[in-house]
């Protein structure tokens, strides 16, 4: 028999674990639904407890009922906090992905293939995001693009490392095709090495096509 608060506790544990992970674990649809249901049930309990009093409930006269009401009241709020914390942790992660320029489709592919070589048992579960989270990710991406667009020359999602050298050595990890630089076109084929302007290839490094050397 699960106790009050067990569900919320589980959500918080999931959230805590998510913070330390590089990827986003699957959305706990059942848990969220159950915690929400608990809140609704508690609310109904409160309503039925208060009903016979017709709005004239005196806590000092009936301390047992008052105590039940208080516990119910606090449990509902606790569940709400746990749910908010769980969702906020996940949206924070999603926002981080958006800033890093990760594509949501790529994310789904990554999940299907397993993150560290281990195949995910349920292949039907393509995405670890809830449909609402997918919406959120898309909308946040639009918002970010709009904000970024007002600073065209800066590239807000660029590296936060202070720049040292204008030119860097890079090795190509995955074929990335041809890129245009002000010194002409470079064909990025796997395992080749180039000396290029950092600003030209920052994107490709972030996306894992190139590796910075030295």
């Amino acid at each position: 028999m699960p106790m009050y608060g067990d569900l919320g506790n589980k959500l918080v544990q999931h959230a805590k674990r998510t913070q330390g992970l590089a990827h986003l674990p699957p959305y706990q649809t059942e848990l969220v639904r159950a915690a929400t249901r608990e809140v609704r049930d508690l609310d109904k309990d409160v309503a039925s407890l208060l009903e016979p009093f017709q709005g004239s409930f005196d806590p000092t006269a009936d301390q047992a009922t008052a105590c039940t009401l208080l516990v119910n009241h606090l449990s509902m709020r606790r569940n709400k906090r746990c749910l908010l914390a769980y969702h906020r942790t996940r949206t924070d992660k999603l926002e981080e992905l958006a800033w890093n320029g990760t594509d949501i489709l790529e994310l789904a592919g990554q999940q299907a293939g397993g993150t560290n070589g281990a195949p995910i048992a349920d292949a039907g579960e393509a995405s670890s995001l809830s449909p609402q989270e997918e919406d959120y990710f898309r909308q946040y991406g639009d918002l970010l693009a709009a904000y970024k667009g007002q600073w065209t020359d800066i590239d807000l999602t660029g590296s936060l490392e202070p720049p040292r050298d204008l030119f860097i050595d890079v090795r190509v990890l995955k074929d990335a095709g041809e890129i245009q630089t002000e010194y002409g076109a470079i064909n990025l084929t796997k395992n080749s090495q180039f000396y290029v302007r950092q600003g030209d290839v920052e994107r490709l490094i972030a996306q894992g096509y190139l590796q910075k050397l030295g």
Partner: protein
Amino acid sequence: MDIDDILQEVDPSFHTIPQEKRDLQELTRAWVAERSAPELLPWPADGLFERINGSIKRQIEKVEEMTGDMDPKTNFALIVIQTELERFKYLVRSYLRARIAKIDKHTLHYLSTDELRGRLSDMELAYATRHQALLHNHYLSSFLASFPPALQNLNDTAGGISMIETPDLESAVFIRLLKNALVEGRGVDTDDATNMQVNDIVILRWSDAKPLVEAGSAELI
């Protein structure tokens, strides 16, 4: 050299330094301060970023003009300009990202009063408002909509705890004195007040350092 020259030299308001250089100093100072302060600092109101954006644009154009030139001398100058440009861009980027991080963390707090909203630039205000709306919507569609109506708010203060988190104004910062000033700091057991000289460096609570920084008597480092 007569006395006026000497006076002019020590008068910080005497503008012998070109505008661009002062802008860079101002940007660097704003960047350092924003990264050290636990709360969001006011957006520079004097058009600093318009000027900086203009400088960056001009330098980019210059780079484009010079690229075609194959003269080794131009090439060297080009590398210097591009390096400077990258550093400039880094400062602006890092500054803006530091602000966005703070805004994202305490969105509702910064949107709650006019005084706090005033610290945001117009773009940041638009971003924060929209971000909060997106989040609220997301909560609603994920679970909040099936809650009892009385529990759907995001700004409850029930039980004496506000749902809106605020930045910790008591966290410690380092400041360097720009003028001789009396520094008052509150400690755990006792409070202390000391007369400090220019260039002295102290660590104290942000809430104690704030008046000094705002008055221009000290800078965050």
